[in-house]
């Protein structure tokens, strides 16, 4: 649907379009960070492209890419044209601590998505007028959608009460909360651990990724024993 836009971009920028992919009709082009604003401006201004609608801007964190010398983050821009009815995604790679140029001068609607990317991933945008956190509070340290942000780390604004009975959660029980998200990233980056879902991983004989996997295994055995020991449900009375 947006193949015309891709060919237009290729004829305009040539080798500066580093890569193009097509997944079921959704075209994605990859450009270098230095061409980011130029490509975006072309997509907006060119009559054949006419990308008047800024849909979204977001980022993807690939921490394992950093060990290979590649930039850590993907910055993803999604655009749509009202008149031509086509869409395109533009990707660029950003290093950690590297500043990206802002797109707010092209689409005013980029203001909040760029603030969100700063809030969640810590990618700073040069030229943005109001580079503050948008969802979290000023006291928050770190950027929570980075993969190396600890999944169980909360930063309460007010101190928790220390009363008996309120300590039930967290840490959550073994089958509660988001165990699929509790990935030990050090193990993952070292290549010792590829498991995502504990229930799927258990089926293929993988070790749990919880940081205290031995404790978790003991807890699971306890739960299983309790389930086994439970008497079968009574037959309905006639």
């Amino acid at each position: 649907m947006s193949a015309k836009v891709v060919s237009k971009l290729k004829s305009q920028f040539g080798d500066r379009i580093l890569d193009t992919t097509n997944f079921r009709g959704d075209e994605t082009v990859t450009v270098a960070l230095k061409d980011w604003v130029e490509v975006a401006t072309f997509l907006k201004e060119d009559d054949a492209c006419d990308m008047s609608m800024f849909v979204d801007l977001t980022a993807v964190d690939w921490p394992e890419r950093e060990t290979e010398g590649e930039p850590r983050f993907d910055l993803m821009l999604f655009l749509r044209s009202y008149t031509k009815k086509h869409r395109i995604a533009v990707r660029t790679k950003v290093k950690d601590q590297e500043k990206a140029p802002t797109l707010t001068s092209i689409w005013a609607g980029a203001t909040w998505p760029e603030r969100e990317v700063w809030d969640m991933f810590g990618i700073f945008f040069k030229g943005h007028r109001d580079m503050r956190r948008i969802l979290l509070y000023e006291e928050f340290e770190g950027h929570p959608l980075r993969k190396d942000y600890p999944i169980d780390k909360a930063q309460p604004l007010i101190e928790y009460r220390d009363v008996e009975g309120t300590r039930k959660l967290p840490p959550f029980g073994i089958e509660e909360g988001q165990p699929f998200a509790r990935v030990n990233w050090e193990e993952r980056l070292a290549g010792r651990d590829q498991q995502v879902s504990p229930s799927i991983g258990a089926q293929v004989g993988q070790q749990r990724t919880l940081s205290d996997s031995r404790v978790a295994a003991a807890e699971l055995a306890e739960v299983q024993a309790a389930v086994d020991a439970e008497p079968p449900p009574e037959a309905p009375q006639e």
Binding site: P144, A154, R161, T166, K168, L169, E176, P236, E238
Partner: protein, 184 residues
């Protein structure tokens, strides 16, 4: 009046004579005139609205009057997920309420954080303010909200400030499964 007779005066008191503790009378008056402050943040709020509607009719319990000032309310209904950013606001609203005050934690998220095991959600409002009644469910049905209200009224009458949890109800299909086949 039958309820008052059972709660306030003993069974062996002669007809027409009131002998009781003043606290019991006061508790009886309090439990039937609960003004509520709805702190609704998420989808559980829809269920609370249904509870207040004519079908479930929370007015039967004298608790139909929402007050949107914490200074005028007796019960704080915390309905839905409370994020870390909302924590100070919730605590301040609780502190602004006049004594005596009670707190109902409506739904799994308010009670323990639910499945939001992450950086942004408070894992249970009891980390911040004391809770009298917990309502499990995601979201709980209006019947559970009414059960919580009745449980709270019972606790007010007994001057019981320990936290308690609403028990699950036996739902219709379980009752049907128990019934003999020919009567189904």
């Amino acid at each position: 009046m039958g309820d008052l007779r059972q709660a306030v005066i003993g069974p062996d008191v002669e007809h027409g004579v009131f002998t009781s503790k003043f606290e019991s009378l006061l508790a009886w008056a309090r439990k039937y005139s609960l003004f509520q402050y709805p702190f609704a943040t998420a989808c559980c709020g829809i269920e609370l609205m249904a509870t207040a509607g004519p079908h479930y009719d929370i007015a039967r319990f004298g608790a139909e009057a929402p007050r949107f000032s914490p200074r005028q309310s007796d019960v704080l209904w915390v309905v839905g997920t409370i994020s870390q950013r909302q924590g100070p606001a919730l605590k301040r609203i609780y502190e602004q309420m006049a004594e005596p005050k009670w707190v109902i934690s409506f739904g799994t998220c308010a009670s323990c954080g639910g499945f939001y095991d992450n950086y942004t959600t408070i894992p249970g409002i009891d980390k911040i303010i004391p809770v009298d009644v917990y309502i499990p469910g995601c979201p709980p049905r209006p019947e559970a909200a009414l059960d919580a209200l009745m449980l709270l009224m019972e606790k007010i009458q007994n001057n019981d400030r320990s936290p308690s949890v609403v028990k699950p109800r036996e739902v219709v299909h379980q009752l049907r499964a128990k019934a003999p086949k020919e009567r189904r």
